[in-house]
Structures are given as structure tokens and as C-alpha cells.
């Protein structure tokens, strides 16, 4: 009996291996990796224009073979097709390729502005449903241009263009707007999703231009510049923006590099109305002093802190003015704050929130702290007697 069992085990294993094994086996050389997919409005109305960049390992040349000094073209093949929906586009592309498409390494989904304004509802299910796709794919918007133009540009320093989008989102804002974040934001009551947006400069270089604001899966506008920095900051991301402040009666101004925003937000219901209070502490470093102030003097720093805080408060006000009045979109999640703290109350006002939202007033208590001034106090080139202490 023991002998029979001990013969049975290898036979079973062998059967499993021969009959059922290998069905998932895909040799690397039979597979095409999609690096990035872009979506635009198609030439035919109602159609999408889909580009896919397929990586070409042969042109990468494998390890140890460096480029011949000249800037080489990105080692990808560009496939383009027009289709009614994304899955049809995929099927069209399969018929143009000698290998099977594998989208598990696609990390960026780029959508053109026109298409985003029309609405991206129909695109989202495909991305999350197929098991090959990653929900950590970044969703980004191309501002003021068609997405396909954006990926045509040569990208500095990286092998693939997709790296630029990813690294910009991760390293510069720390608020990578992946699909997962988008889905979380769009399903949280009282919050609307945001994504990063990219644009081209006049010199045809790709730049991270701001944050795209979505409402009900439609693009409504962009937040740029200082406001984008601040929005990233209060959402918990990394800021790196440059804030310019000046003190009255002092010639010139200073630039503060904004390091961090510590936000404590409170919501209270009084008289049936929500009241929002934000306590923000801004931290920054002065790395450019265009006045003749001596920054090693704590008095001056105190004045600068005040100017810093005022400037921040002004920026917050203008940010929320834009969000509330211009876009009428609750991107920060004020509604979500109410929902989390007062679910009963939220249930009652949920339907009316989009109208209530633009009229909300927020109380800001901003304090600022300049944590460092670099290695020197006053600018080194100003003679001693002109330095304002």
C-alpha cells in the first residue's frame, strides 16, 4: 500500500505538470510591454484615439552597451489606433503586433485635455478590471495639448518618457495621483478627485504644470502656480514652491522655499451650518535674500515670519476662491470632513452640498516658521554699514 502511494505521488505530479502546466507560460521574447497609453478625442466623433508605446528591448541593447554619445531616440515603438472604446483599441493593436500585449508594466495613463473635459467615465472601468493592469497606474492630464503631442517630446536624462511623468509625480509632489487615489477620492462622499497635469513649454519641453480638478469625472479646470503648491501641501504632499515675501519699507524681497505645511483642520456644526477652521503652520527656508536685511537677527526673522504667514493665508484664500467660486468643486474634501465627523448631518445635506459648497467660508489661522536661512546672515557682497540689522 505504501509503495502504491509513493508511486502515485510522482504520477499525479507528472499528470498535473503535463496536462495543465504551461498554460500561463509566456516567454519574455513573445511579449510586448506597453510603457504608456495616451487617450485623445478621435478624428471621428465619438471615437478615441489611442497611442501605445511598446518597449523595444533590442534597441536598449541590454546591459553594458552604452549609447554612442549622441542622444538616441527613445527605444519604443509607437502604435496608434482609433476605436469606440478602450478595449476595441486594445484589440486593434493586438492585430498590429507580432507579440502579445502585456500591460502590467504600463505605469502612466495620459489623457488629453479635450477628452478629459468631455468626461473620462468610460475609460476607468477597463483599467481597473483587467487583472493585468495595475491600479497604481498614474492618471495624468495633458494640459492645453493633445496627449499624443506630449509624448512625442524627447525626455532628458531618462530612458523612457514614462519615467519623466512618474518621477515628476513622485519626487516633486509626493502626491502621485494614481488610479487608486482617484478611485478613493471619487468614492469618498464629499470629495472630488484630482490628478497631476503636464504641459509643454514654448521650447517643447514637458513640465509639470499644475493640478487638474475633476468633478463628476469631468475635467473642470487647472490649479497652477503657487496655488497648486499650496493645494499639494495641504493635501499632505511635498511642496517645493517658491514663495516671495517682502516687508514694508524694505527694498527688495525674499524667496522662501516652502518645506512643509502642517494642517490641523476642524469642522463644527453651529446653527445647522458647518464651520471650518484650519490651523496651518507653514515651514520654510530662506534661500534667496534680495534685500539687505541681516537674517541672523531674530527680530527680523519674526517680522519675516509674519510676512510669510500673511502671504500663505492670502494664497490659501485665493486657492479656495478658485476651487469654490471658479470651479465649484470640492477637491480638498470639505464635504468629506463633515461626512467623517457628522455622518448624520451629512446624510441630510448630502444632496445639497454642491450648492452649499461655494458659499462656505473658512477660517484660517496661519502661522509660519522660517526654519533656516542658509549658511550666511546678510548677503556677503553688501558692505557692513548698509546692512539693515
Amino acid at each position: 500500500m505504501k509503495r502504491k502511494i509513493s508511486l502515485l505521488v510522482p504520477v499525479l505530479l507528472l499528470t498535473v505538470w503535463i496536462c495543465t502546466g504551461c498554460w500561463d507560460r509566456k516567454e519574455i521574447v513573445d511579449v510586448a510591454f506597453v510603457m504608456i497609453t495616451t487617450l485623445d478625442e478621435g478624428q471621428t466623433p465619438g471615437f478615441y484615439r489611442v497611442h501605445a508605446h511598446i518597449a523595444e528591448p533590442k534597441r536598449i541593447g541590454g546591459p553594458g552597451q552604452s549609447s554612442s554619445g549622441q542622444k538616441q531616440k527613445e527605444p519604443v515603438t509607437d502604435l496608434v489606433t482609433e476605436a469606440r472604446n478602450v478595449d476595441e483599441a486594445r484589440s486593434n493593436m493586438e492585430q498590429m503586433l507580432s507579440r502579445d500585449i502585456v500591460s502590467s508594466h504600463r505605469r502612466v495613463f495620459l489623457i488629453g485635455e479635450a477628452l478629459a473635459r468631455r468626461g473620462i467615465k468610460d475609460l476607468l472601468d477597463h483599467i481597473s478590471r483587467s487583472p493585468m493592469n495595475r491600479i497604481s497606474t498614474l492618471l495624468v492630464v495633458a494640459e492645453n495639448t493633445k496627449a499624443e503631442k506630449l509624448i512625442d517630446q524627447q525626455v532628458p536624462l531618462e530612458n523612457f518618457g514614462v519615467e519623466l511623468f512618474r518621477e515628476l509625480s513622485f519626487r516633486k509632489t509626493h502626491l502621485p495621483t494614481s488610479l487608486k487615489d482617484y478611485f478613493i477620492a471619487s468614492t469618498t462622499p464629499g470629495q472630488q478627485p484630482i490628478t497631476a497635469s503636464f504641459a509643454t513649454t514654448k521650447e517643447n519641453e514637458i513640465v509639470l504644470s499644475g493640478i487638474a480638478i475633476f468633478r463628476d469625472n469631468r475635467l473642470v479646470g487647472f490649479v497652477k502656480g503657487k496655488e497648486a503648491v499650496v493645494l499639494t501641501g495641504i493635501l499632505g504632499g511635498k511642496t517645493g514652491g517658491s514663495i516671495t515675501i517682502h516687508i514694508s519699507q524694505v527694498k527688495g524681497d525674499l524667496s522662501i522655499r516652502l518645506d512643509r505645511l502642517k494642517v490641523q483642520r476642524k469642522v463644527a456644526i453651529s446653527n445647522g451650518e458647518p464651520k471650518f477652521t484650519f490651523q496651518v503652520k507653514a515651514f520654510g527656508r530662506i534661500l534667496d535674500n534680495r534685500t539687505n536685511l541681516d537674517l541672523s537677527n531674530p527680530e527680523i526673522i519674526r517680522k519675516l515670519n509674519k510676512a510669510f504667514a500673511d502671504e500663505m493665508e492670502g494664497t490659501f484664500q485665493s486657492l479656495f476662491h478658485r476651487l469654490q467660486k471658479d470651479f465649484r468643486t470640492d477637491s480638498y474634501g470639505l464635504g468629506a470632513m463633515i461626512y467623517k465627523k457628522y455622518p448624520g448631518y451629512w446624510k441630510r445635506i448630502e444632496k445639497d452640498w454642491p450648492e452649499m459648497y461655494p458659499d462656505q467660508t473658512l477660517k484660517w489661522q496661519v502661522s509660519a516658521k522660517i526654519t533656516g536661512v542658509g549658511s550666511i546672515g546678510a548677503p556677503l557682497f553688501i558692505p557692513e554699514n548698509e546692512v539693515k540689522k
Binding site: 516567454e27 521574447v29 546591459p63 495595475r134
Partner: protein
């Protein structure tokens, strides 16, 4: 076997004795018959020390022929009247002294067969430990062990096997330190050995070990007396066989295969560090090719994109699927490994250059095998050379190939299946009654502690 008695009462008997011997052993040129007066000395010239015979036997006998009080000076003697025993003694190198008129033959132990001097260990080397290895001679080996463990608890049980080779085997243990059941069990197994020709300790090992058909070794073989002493002091038993420098140790667990003797000659942090590195590399020796094949063909989402594209670029040139590449390179590596062991020492340098550089380089440039595969196989090869216990390497190598096939067919699931079956098998394996995966499988925290971190020795 006829239990013949020897009669030596007169000259005719002596003649008959000589004739019997010549008939039994053949008239061989190294069978020497030396007459001294009324005494006959019989010995085999290669096995017995002739100078000692001259000095200890012939001189006293010839000096005292007249006086009649005959004696010999050899310290170790036996008296017998059994013919078979006499023949065995002569064949073992003793000198048989037959004195006319005495009713027993004296067997004088003047054996001095050719043997090697104590040399360095060949297989198990250590950097900081003693550099002694066992010889083929049983007595010398026992002496080496005794010298290290000068304990009064040291006990030996003797067996003789085979009617042709007459090999002696002894069971060594420390009384009251080794468990009685263990000693009884091994003794019982040795009793039941009925082999005729024992040419080495492996014959006995195969016969008395648990599950002789298992790929995993269930008995430890060592050539070092310090390993044996250490084992004996810990309560294990040793079986030592004549003419083999390899001593068998019972019981043997899976984890013993990954301990080196160096562990006790290093400080606890160094020994622990080495243990961890060894454990990690042995795991990779088993799993690395399978993981590589599984990941690149089934689960390429797991690799970072840049690495994946690098691998894809290297794989473009190669026509074979990853599994076939792996099998090709594995077989080439195993062939090189075995060839280096078997070839004459002088050629090792040259052939290893050919093997490693030329074959490796040429294969990649010809586009038969991709570079990442070469890397994987090299690391695996080096890792499998790290296994201290020689026999376990075979089990690991065979398992590696099987896991490779499973990985090629079923990906991670195949590796999991293979490992699962191996696990189940190992848990059920026993060595001299002790479960193979002690102290992990029957969980013994004290021993497990020592396995994970080699505990610092107690300070009094």
C-alpha cells in the same frame, strides 16, 4: 568452518601444521616460515614487522634453545589452539609461533602494515581548527579519538563482518551520555548486517541507515576526529570501520548538514553570521534557477520595469525558452564540477579556465544562452558549493532540477507544490529514530536557539 585444533606435540605435527598452512594460504612468496630450533615462526612478510620479529621473537628463542625456558618478548600475545584463528592472525599481520611440545600456538602481535601518516582533512577543512584527518587504520583512528576525549566513559562494541575481507567495525559511544535506546538500536542494526564484502564504511552506512533509498542523507560521514569527539560528547554514537577514514555518526538531522566544524572554533558572532549567510545561499542554491524561470515566464509583473527590459534585451538573442536554457546551463555546470573532482590535480587549473571562461563566454556570444542565466547558474553553483556536508549537496542538486521543471511548467505554484512535497517528506524522515527536522519539526526551543544563533559558550 572446521574448528580444527592444532597439535604440536612432536616434529611430525609441526610438519603437518606447516603443510596445512601452505595448503590453506597457498605457497605464497610473502608467507615466511622461520625455524628457530624446535620452534616455527610463521608470518606474512609485508604485514609483520620483521625487525620486531627478529628482536622480540627470534633472539630470545634462539638464545634460550639450550636452557629450555623459552620466552618471547612481544608485549601483545594471544594463545590459541584453533586453526582458523591462527590463519586469521597470520593474515592480520601477527606472527604465529609454534613451539614443539607446547599444546598452544602463540600469536604475537607484530603487525606493522603500510599506512599513511596523519594528514590534512581533504573534504572538511577548517581555518582555525585542528588539521587532522582519520587514517585507514582502525587502531590509529581510535587512538586519535581517545587522545581528544580522554574520558573514562568511552565505550566500544566490536563487530566482524565478512568471511572474505574480515572487516572489523566498532560502535563508539559515551556511557550514560548517549541514550541507551540509541545504542541499542544501532547495535541491533549492526547485528543484522550480513554483507560478505565490506569495502568501506558506506556499505555499512547503506545497510543500517534509515530509509536507505532516500535522497537525503540520514547518517553523517566525517573524516575528522574532532567532529567525532564533539558528536560523542553530545550523546551521539559513531561507527568506525577498518580500512576507511570515514566514520559514521548517528543520528543526523537536516540541520547538521549546514553546520561546519568551524562553528565551534569561531566567536559566536562570526559563527552566527556565517550560519545565516550559509542558510541564505543554500536556499538560493535550491531555489534561484526555479525562481528566475518562474518569474520571467509566468510572473514578469514582479520585476521592476528596467530590470525586466534588460533581461528581455539579453534574452532576445537566445532561441531557447528560459527552462531549456536553465537545464542546459545546469547540466554544463554539473559536468564541469564533477570533471574537476575526477581529473588529475595537475590539470585542474587549465581545465577550469576552459570550463568557466571559454564555455561561459562563448555560449553567451554565440547567442545560445542569455547572460542573466549565466549569472543565475554561477551564483547557484557557488551557493551549492557552500553546503558543508558533501552528501546533502546531491539531494539539493537533484531537488533543484526537479523544482526547475516544476517552475517551468507551473510557475510559482509549481515551486510551491515541489517545496510542499519536499517539506512533507522531510518531516516524516527519521534518522536512527530521531525525526529529521528536529529541533524545528518537533519544536525544541533550546536546540533551536543554538541553531539560529550559535550560543556563546557558558562562562563559569
Amino acid at each position: 568452518m572446521v574448528q580444527q585444533s592444532i597439535r604440536l606435540s612432536n616434529w611430525a605435527d609441526l610438519e603437518q601444521f606447516t603443510e596445512e598452512l601452505k595448503r590453506t594460504l597457498g605457497s605464497m612468496p610473502d608467507l615466511v616460515f622461520r625455524s628457530v630450533g624446535a620452534s616455527l615462526i610463521v608470518y606474512i612478510s609485508g604485514l609483520a614487522d620483521q625487525q620486531r620479529i627478529e628482536r622480540e621473537i627470534v633472539d630470545p628463542l634462539s638464545a634460550n634453545q639450550e636452557t629450555g625456558s623459552l620466552f618471547i618478548k612481544t608485549p601483545s600475545v594471544q594463545m590459541t589452539d584453533n586453526y582458523q584463528q591462527t590463519v586469521q592472525a597470520i593474515l592480520s599481520g601477527m606472527a604465529a609461533v609454534a613451539i614443539c611440545g607446547k599444546d598452544q600456538v602463540i600469536l604475537a602481535n607484530v603487525a606493522a602494515s603500510p599506512k599513511r601518516g596523519v594528514s590534512d582533512p581533504q573534504i572538511e577543512s577548517s581555518i582555525l581548527g585542528p588539521q587532522e584527518a582519520f587514517l585507514e587504520d582502525l587502531d590509529t583512528n581510535i587512538a586519535m579519538i581517545r587522545r581528544i576525549t580522554k574520558s573514562e566513559k568511552f565505550r566500544m562494541k566490536v563487530w566482524h563482518f565478512g568471511s572474505v575481507a574480515h572487516t572489523e567495525a566498532r560502535l563508539l559511544y559515551f556511557d550514560q551520555v548517549a541514550p541507551d535506546e540509541l545504542v541499542a538500536e544501532i547495535s541491533k542494526r549492526l547485528d543484522s548486517v550480513h554483507l560478505e564484502d565490506i569495502l568501506g564504511s558506506n556499505y555499512i552506512a547503506e545497510t543500517i541507515k534509515d530509509r536507505p533509498l532516500s535522497w537525503f542523507p540520514t547518517v553523517q560521514k566525517t573524516e575528522r576526529p574532532d567532529v567525532v569527539s564533539n558528536a560523542l560528547m553530545k550523546g551521539r554514537v559513531a561507527v568506525i570501520v577498518n580500512n576507511t577514514p570515514i566514520v559514521l555518526l548517528f543520528p543526523f538531522t537536516f540541520w547538521n548538514a549546514f553546520e561546519t566544524v568551524e562553528d565551534i572554533y569561531l566567536s559566536y558572532s562570526s559563527a552566527t553570521f556565517l550560519r545565516w549567510i550559509r542558510a541564505f545561499f543554500i536556499l538560493s542554491a535550491l531555489l534561484l534557477p526555479s525562481l528566475y524561470v518562474a518569474i520571467t515566464t509566468f510572473h514578469n509583473e514582479m520585476l521592476p520595469t528596467n530590470l525586466l527590459l534588460s533581461i528581455a534585451a539579453s534574452r532576445e538573442a537566445s532561441p531557447f525558452p528560459a527552462l531549456v536554457e536553465a537545464l542546459i546551463m545546469e547540466s554544463i555546470f554539473e559536468a564541469i564540477r564533477e570533471a574537476i573532482v575526477r581529473m588529475p590535480r595537475i590539470l585542474v587549473q587549465a581545465v577550469s579556465v576552459v570550463g568557466a571562461l571559454v564555455i561561459g563566454q562563448a555560449i553567451v556570444q554565440a547567442g545560445i544562452v542569455s547572460i542573466p542565466m549565466i549569472i543565475v547558474v554561477s551564483i547557484t553553483g557557488i551557493a551549492s558549493l557552500m553546503i558543508p556536508h558533501y552528501e546533502t549537496t546531491f539531494a539539493i542538486r537533484i531537488l533543484r532540477i526537479i523544482l526547475l521543471l516544476m517552475a517551468g511548467g507551473l510557475g510559482f505554484f509549481g515551486i510551491a507544490l515541489g517545496l510542499f512535497f519536499t517539506q512533507v517528506y522531510l518531516t516524516g524522515l527519521r534518522s536512527a529514530g530521531m525525526p529529521y527536522l528536529t529541533p524545528v519539526a518537533p519544536f525544541v526551543w533550546k536546540s533551536l536557539k543554538n541553531l539560529i544563533i550559535r550560543q556563546p559558550f557558558e562562562r563559569s
